[in-house]
Structure formats: structure tokens, C-alpha cells
Amino acid sequence: MLKLNITFYTALLGVFASTNSIAAESNSLDLSLQELLNVEVTSVSKQKQPLSNSPAAIYVVTSENIHNSGATSIPQALRDVPGLHVAQIDSQKWAISSRGFNGRYNNKLLVLMDGRTLYSPVFSGVYWEVQDTLMADIERIEVIRGPSAAMWGANAVNGVINIITKHSADTSGGYAELGAGDYEQGFAGFRYGSTLSDNATSRMYVKGHNKDSLEHDQQDLGDYLVGPSTSVDKDNDWTHLQVGGRVDIELETGTSLMLSSDWYRTQMQQTSYYPTLVGPSYLEYNSDEVNSDGFNLLSKFTKALSPTSQYSLQTYYDYAKRDDDWYGFSSETLDIDFQHQLLLGQNHNIVWGLGYRFIKDDFDPSTIIVSSESASTRTNLWSTFVRDEMTLIDDELWLTLATRVEHFDYTGFEIQPNIRLMWQLNKKNNLWASVARAIRTPSRVENNLSVNAQNIPPSVESPLVSIWVAGNENYQSEEIISYELGYRVTPAKKWSFDSTIFYNDYDQLRSALNSTTDFSTFPNYISQYLTFENDLKGHNYGFEFSSMWAATDDLQFKLNYSFIQNEFGENQSQNTDAPEHMLSTMMDWSITDDIDLNLVWRFMGDAYVINTNDLSTKTIDSYHGLDIGLHWAVTPDVLLSAFGKNLLHPAHLEYEGENYQFPYRVGPSYYVKASLTF
């Protein structure tokens, strides 16, 4: 019976394979121009995904992947990327990291949208809930694991996520989408793209959504929190509205200008608990509405000077404001970036650049977060970089040397060099290796803010102890030296494998081991200050693998797996161990011309989060889940889709947010969507 099965599948494969070869042989070259224009195209939107040819661990989420998965937000589109740990905290909040160190305030991942940094300079990390655009306008999301600070700048320590939106010429005409479900209570998007003149195209979009709360389960709380927390509202629903647009202008041959702008407003319910000086629990529970809004304006001028030389000048302004229960914050960023690409002779592809970033922030303190600086601070970041990609042997061996020098107000000069080597053994096999140093610059919270982490209730021996984690103006950058080795192979046209092994050596990691005690408020209470220092070090290593098999033009399978092992000793006080094992398998099947089915099954191993109240380690149990997407093209312009997410597994924790945040469970959800192009 087993044998029969094997033969059957082999035969089935034969059928699939033969369809391809026949299609390839039937020669469209013999058709006349008129005939060619009458042939129906099978793979209009399909882009074959050739393996990347660069010496780095790159994975690309294409617009087709986003469409298939029905992702309604950027974090959802990043699930299942090998090496990325994507975990939902509550309805709005996400923790996303590459190669460990996850957290709501993960500070080792650089995220950019069309060249604009989304990394917050204040608390570090990315507020994913306000990073949005019309999902249908995203051309691709490039995820580079490992440090690439030499090219992209500080904080590209464990990875870079580069969100690239479509050129406005690619989004002409109208597009509208409307959807609803249980967690996705309602979402709508509208875009219109038009040709402005002989040399300019544009688009405008508006989108909005309403997402329901995730459920809270008391079992996920520590015993001391359960009792007093029962009376507080656990709502965490989320409403977001955003409008934006883009214009692309061709000024003359080889010269173009791109302008883009977005505005958003978001409202989120949030429940938190934080320390107070009032007994009996010395904790206060609060449910409040968080408001956040933002605006950005970006321009990019690109000019080719000759066939071998081109420069671009990018300028942007970004405003972001957030009113949280425990702090208020706004920041204004002005960034100017110049890049020049130059091909020297046959063997040197050089890019160099200069950058300047000015950030003015305004901090609104509370009883639990205070600032030792004035409410408003200004920081300057200067940077310059050069990269030379050298061809050592034509079509066979390349060497890339790159380095970046930065000057940041808090830490002074930093150097981030990188050396990469790529060896193309033959058309099918490709090896690369990289050694890089990158740094993570301190954020404002580490430099001059103090956070009340916990209050220890008074006892017979001691008065009430208020524990604060305090910023330190001598706090230095964290450092990583990373060693990577990659191997890509395409054994047959329809198969591809991409694998990477890495070893990361971290130094000067954040610690808060030394304390000073302030007795001035004795006997009411005493305050203990744990100061941020750079006393921790450690290393991790791991393996990442992704493979694709295009069984036919209509049926594709993917398998992504990653493994990581962390060695940070016992004193790890800042971050989360990513799951040791993460696995996802995907199937994209065009059942007929009009019906597509997309399946994803994923497994996430146990993850460990630091409980900020007592610094103990808490295990987030492993889970698995199935996502289903079904698409029916009713007419070429009308598409109906139905999605099921996180099926086959009961509601579970994916992550627990650090500092003051309640844990919430992610469970199965469903939604339907209609989209229309006109």
C-alpha cells in the first residue's frame, strides 16, 4: 500500500511536471504580434521568486504573499518569515524580533518604510500599531536578518525590515476593500491612482479599521494580581484611521522626484497596573484610552549623472504623538540622507552616503516615569558610510567591504564595519559569509528617564520600598559582532533552498545590577534606584532554513524553519528568549482560474519572557495554528475572500508585554473581505 502511494504520487508529479514542460515548449515565438496580444496570460500577478543573490540572510514578503494571507496589518504580514519571532500582545500591540531579544520595546531591529525610519528614539523599538499603509499598496517587505548597520545605520543589530510601497504608476485606477469578522470587526480601504500629467502619476488612499479586544484570562496573572484586578475593565479594542498619498514625477531622462505623505489617528483601549504608594496592594489598576497620531512628509530626488553614476537625496519630516496612561510623548524628526552610487571600472560597485537626523521630543511625565532632563530634549545624529562591492572573479567571487561612522549625542563616535564574501560555485550553488559589527544606541529612557518598576509592600523588617530603574547619561551603546554563513541551492528549476547559520557575540548589553538607596522619605517609604549600565554579555547561535517547491504553476509549497540557542547566563534582565524552534509550512494553490486556496500551518516552541515585577522567567507555552485563506474572483474586478486565522488551537498567550501590561490570549478568528478594482 505504501508502495502504491509512492507510485501514485510520483505519477501525479509526472503529470504536474509534464504540464510545465509542454507549456514551455509550445512556442509563442512563432505567433504573430496580433496573435500574441490575443493570448490569455496565466500568471498575470505571479512573480516567480528567484533566490536572492546577495550575501545576506534575506527573505522577501511579496505583494502576492500579502494578498494571499489576507494580512490586515504589517505585523500579520511578517508572521512566518524564517528567523522572525512575531507575537501579538493584545489587540494592538506586537512584539517582533529577529534572532531573539524580543519585546514590545525590542531595540535591536531597524524598521523602515520607503526609507523613513519607524524605530522610536525614545523607548527604542517600533510602535507597530501606528505603522500602517494600505496593504494592497505594499510592493514588498524585505527582511534582512543579522546586522547590516554598515548600510542601514545604528540599531540594525539583529535585522532590518524594509517596507517598500508601490510606485504610483503601479497603482493607477481605483481599488476598494471592505471586510468584517469577529476580531476584525470592520475594515475598509480605498485608493485612487491617476496620471496627473505627461510625466507624473499619483495615488491617494484612505483606510480604517476597528479591531475587537483580545480575551484576558486570570490564569495568566500572578496570584497577587488576580484579586484586585477583577474589577478593572480589560478592554483592548482598537480603532485606526489613516490617509495618505504619493506622487512620482519624471523630471527629465534619468531624473525623478517622489513625494509621499501619511496622516493617522488611532484610539486604543488599554488596561494597565502600576506601582503606587497606597496600600494594601500598592498597585493601581487602570483602564484608559490611548490616543496616538502622526504625520509624515517625504521627498526623494533621484538623478542619474551618467550610465555609471547616480545619486539620490532624501528628506523627511515625521511627527508622532502618543498619550499613554503612564506617560505622554511627542517627537519631531527631520532627516536628510544623501547617497551616491558609482561603478568604477568593471569591478567596483561603490555606494557612499551622508546623513543627518535631528530629533526634538517632548516628554510628559507621570508618577511612575520621570525625567532628569528637561521635558523637551534635542538630539543630533550624523553618519557617513561607504560600501564597495568588488568582483574578484567574474560571475564567481565577490567581496563587499563596508563601514559606517556615526556620531550620536549620547554616545559619540561609533564605527560599524562589515565584510562579506560571496562565492557562486555554479549556476545552482551559492555560498556566502559575513562578519559584521553593529551597535545599538541608547534611547532616551536609558539616558535620562527613570521608571518605577515595582513597589515592595512594607513588612516587619522594612518600610515600603519603591524600586526605580534609572537612566544613566554615561550609558553606552550595546555591541554585537556577528558571524554568518549562508548556502543557497536550486537543485532543480522548481526547487530552492536557502539556509543560514549564525553566531552572535554581544557585549555591553544593558544591565541594572547596582543600586543606590534614597532614605530621605523614610519612614514613609524608601526608594531604591537600579541604574542602567552595560555590564552584561552573552552569545547566541542558530540556524535558519527556507525552501520552496513550485509543484506546478498553480501549486506551491514552502517550508520555513528556524532554530536559536541563547547563552546569556542567569542575569538577563532585559529581553525575551525567542522560541528555540519555529516552523511554518505554506501551500498556495490556484484550484481553478478563479479560486485560490492558501494554507499556513505554524508551530512556535516555548518562549520565555521576563516578568518585570520580580524578574523571574515566565514560560509562554508552545502553540501551533492553521491559517486558511480562500479567494474567489467573481469577475476579474471583484474578489471575495474568506479567512480563518489561528485555527486548530484554543486561545493562548503568544507573548506577555513588559512593564504594567496585562496578558491577553490570541484565539481563532474569522473574517470575510470583498475587494473591487475599477
Binding site: V15, S43, G254, T308, Q310, Q346
Partner: protein
């Protein structure tokens, strides 16, 4: 044993049927093949300068985009006028001047600035499926609409480079910029 051989026969017949039947179910074609074929046809219906026609060297059709490799290789046993066609895959602009025809795919948009500057006023036919290519200063832009391919022609650029394209072709164009 017997059972296996029967099932093998059955499966073999299935396989044969599959080979025969499946390709017949649709007249549809891969867009990559079609774009390569269109590019060749545009070259065929172009009136090249006398100086080029007097040369005896092969026609060089260049393309960008690894995923077009197989489709363009199919052109290598073709001829234009009396000379054979040579197909070259390019990854950068530096070798562009040797080409008679250049196809640049939608994934290589970042290269168009330097490409269009490099071929400006030269008798090199540029074809692309990048939206807005014709607006940028490219000669022929292939457009996908409703599962069919169409094309736009920029006559200003063609004329400036000394190329002419047959009126037969212009008649079929979706749009001609004069």
C-alpha cells in the same frame, strides 16, 4: 506484486492522459514567454538605421531579470533580417551599448534612471513591463490588463534615437505618444 504492476499500469495511463489532456485545457500562456516574444516582434518590425543593417554582426537582444532567463533564451535561434540573434542577460548598465534591443523587467525599476540616460539618442530599442516606462522616456511599455498584454509606444523617443516602427505595430498599440 501483481497488484503493484496493475496499479503501475493504471497510473501510467493516468500519467499519459495527463500529459495529453492537461495542456489542452487552456490556451493560456506564461506572461514571461509572451513578453519575450513581444520584444522579438517589436525588433522585427523596427526600421533600423542603414548603418546598423550594413553591419554583419549578430543582433544582440539584452534583458534584465533572472526570471526571464528561459523565455529569452528561446530567441537565440531566431534571426532578424539576415543576421542571427544573440541573447545576453545583463545585471547592470555598463555593458548596455553593445545591445540592439533591451528588455528590462518590472523588478529592475531602480536601474531605469541610468539605463535611459545610457541609451538616450542611441539606436537601441527599449522595451519594458515597468508601469510608467514610456512616461519615463522608454520606447515601448508592455501593459497587463484583464489577462491580456497591450503596449504603449513613445514615438518622440523612438524618433530622437533614429528608429522607426512599422505602422502595423502602431495600429495595434494601446497608446502612441507623438
Amino acid at each position: 506484486m501483481k497488484k503493484t504492476s496493475f496499479s503501475r499500469k493504471l497510473l501510467y495511463s493516468l500519467w499519459v492522459m495527463g500529459v495529453i489532456l492537461l495542456p489542452c485545457t487552456s490556451m493560456a500562456q506564461d506572461a514571461f514567454e509572451l513578453k519575450a516574444a513581444l520584444t522579438y516582434n517589436f525588433a522585427k518590425f523596427t526600421q533600423w538605421p542603414e548603418s546598423r543593417l550594413n553591419e554583419t554582426s549578430a543582433w544582440e537582444i539584452c534583458y534584465f531579470g533572472n526570471q526571464y532567463h528561459d523565455s529569452f533564451m528561446g530567441l537565440s535561434n531566431k534571426k532578424l533580417a539576415t543576421q542571427p540573434v544573440t541573447v545576453i542577460q545583463l545585471s547592470d548598465i555598463s555593458k548596455i551599448e553593445q545591445c540592439d534591443v533591451v528588455f528590462i523587467d518590472a523588478n529592475s525599476r531602480g536601474l531605469t534612471h541610468r539605463l535611459l540616460l545610457a541609451v538616450e539618442n542611441k539606436a537601441i530599442l527599449t522595451v519594458s513591463d515597468i508601469s510608467g516606462f514610456e512616461m519615463q522616456g522608454g520606447m515601448i511599455e508592455i501593459v497587463e490588463q484583464d489577462k491580456r498584454l497591450y503596449f504603449k509606444v513613445n514615438m518622440q523617443v523612438l524618433e530622437a534615437s533614429g528608429l522607426k516602427i512599422s505602422s502595423q505595430v502602431l495600429k495595434l498599440a494601446l497608446e502612441v505618444k507623438r
